[in-house]
């Protein structure tokens, strides 16, 4: 059976339907259970980081190599002659894409991946465009939730920390709204979820509520998605005052549901205490590892039309 994502671009999570998302998650699950080390044999994938991002780059390049493909590219725009010579992104993409079978890119400006996709016929995968989208992070988050809960439907999910600037939480909330989840938002007032996301959720009929601390809701959750409250957004006194409401330690998990998993896009600083690592609820390191499977799934679907998911 042909797959609907063959030769498609992955630019924004909003471009993907529920069916597309489910296909990607099933493919990630299949590849995790049954590796396909020959699937991308003789395929060359461009990995172009116009802005450095160590974790995303290593995860993506691992995904290519685990499927038997090879990688060309660069790890930061400053190291290339493209930036120094002032070439447009459009021209860079035309040239590099002519060498490769797929184009994975990170760029500091919003809209860069969408623009790139208009200057090449090969699939473009957005690895982060400025403050806009980071769909492969969302896909690995969805895969991790699906893996730990066996479903994405009607889950109770709390987002904690910087909900204003965190594109990760925006995209994940948008994607999960296709699955009728209940959301709990826990953030300092200055870093609350933006109104346009709340309006979107309201328009879609999604239940959400805003809370002052993790403890108010933690016992009824299936997923606790932590993010970092950046110290530099507050003055020192204010930071010391607010931070305790947004920090997690093992004692707070005493009465939670057995299936609760704590996730975090990493890196963490002090918002998850080390003692949480030893609880059965910690899942952030497995989540990071799942980035490889989610990205493998995308590559498999974009580059092989006949790929069969084995569930």
């Amino acid at each position: 059976m042909n797959n609907p994502l063959y030769q498609k671009n992955i630019i924004s999570i909003a471009d993907l339907s529920r069916t597309d998302l489910e296909l990607i998650l099933q493919t990630a699950h299949s590849l995790k259970q049954k590796p396909q080390p020959e699937l991308l044999k003789n395929k060359v994938v461009a990995s172009c980081f116009f802005e450095a991002s160590t974790r995303t780059r290593l995860s993506f390049e691992t995904a290519v190599q685990r499927l038997g493909g090879s990688v060309i590219g660069f790890d930061s725009g400053g190291n290339t002659s493209l930036a120094q010579k002032g070439e447009t992104l459009a021209d860079s993409v035309k040239v590099i894409a002519s060498y490769a079978d797929a184009f994975f890119m990170r760029h500091p400006q919003e809209g860069a991946a969408r623009l790139a996709s208009e200057f090449t016929e090969i699939p473009v995968i957005n690895g982060g465009d400025g403050a806009n989208q980071h769909p492969t992070q969302t896909l690995l988050d969805l895969f991790t939730i699906y893996e730990t809960q066996d479903t994405l439907d009607s889950l109770n999910i709390a987002f904690v920390g910087d909900l204003k600037y965190g594109r990760t939480v925006h995209s994940l909330a948008q994607a999960l709204s296709l699955f009728n989840c209940n959301f709990f938002f826990i953030a300092p007032d200055a870093l609350a979820m933006p109104d346009y996301i709340l309006e979107e959720l309201t328009d879609k009929g999604i239940n959400y509520s805003v809370h002052a601390s993790i403890e108010e809701v933690v016992d009824s959750l299936d997923i606790l998605y932590m993010t970092r409250v950046q110290k530099e957004r507050f003055d020192e006194t204010e930071y010391q005052h607010i931070k305790s409401a947004f920090l997690l330690n093992a004692q707070m998990l005493t009465n939670v549901r057995d299936n609760l998993k704590v996730l975090h896009p990493l890196p963490r600083i002090d918002e998850i205490h080390n003692n949480v690592d030893d609880t059965p609820h910690a899942y952030y390191f497995q989540q990071a590892q799942n980035g490889v499977y989610a990205r493998q799934a995308l590559l498999a679907l974009l580059l092989t039309n006949q790929f069969q998911v084995e569930v």
Binding site: S12, A14, T88, L89, A90, H107, P108, Q109, E110, G111, A112, R114, L115, E118, D129, G130, A131, N132, Q133, Y196
Partner: protein
């Protein structure tokens, strides 16, 4: 019998753009480059209307507004009407239609949007027809009309 006096002189042949909100008339003249034509142009600014509000009005001789121009007019005057005149008579009258997108006419208000530095036409989708909120095709950010500037 009371005789109404025209506030702006009638034209023989061409287009009349009516019901332009006050202050927008000059922007429309500039945007459509009407100031660079040799045709006769008559404009009325801050004209009084029967509901007490002010309006602007533009009359252009020997020029018919294209459908594309009519759509673009919605950026300045969403409730404007266009009258086509032949021999001093209105032969066609239609309201401005808000299109679903605007291509190559506005600059993205997001200074970090890739569309500023690259060889592409900007594109904005109309998100909300009532409040005229537009979403950038590239950076995916939405802004109210008042945040945009027109491209030259």
């Amino acid at each position: 019998m009371m005789q109404k006096k025209l506030q702006v002189e009638a034209i023989q042949h061409g287009s009349v753009i009516d019901h332009i909100p006050a202050q927008q008339g000059v922007k429309i003249l500039k945007f459509f480059k009407f100031t660079q034509t040799n045709e006769k142009i008559t404009i009325g600014l801050n004209l009084s209307t029967h509901n007490g509000k002010s309006k602007d009005l533009i009359k252009v001789e020997n020029t018919f507004i294209s459908d594309e121009q009519a759509n673009q007019l919605a950026l300045f005057a969403p409730n404007a009407t266009i009258n086509q005149i032949k021999d001093f008579k209105v032969v066609n009258k239609f309201p401005v239609q808000l299109p679903s997108s605007f291509i190559g006419v506005l600059a993205c208000p997001n200074s970090n949007c890739i569309s500023h530095n690259e060889p592409v036409k900007t594109r904005f989708y109309v998100n909300n027809k009532t409040t005229l909120k537009l979403k950038c095709h590239y950076c995916e950010k939405s802004f109210q009309r008042s945040f945009f500037t027109e491209l030259d």
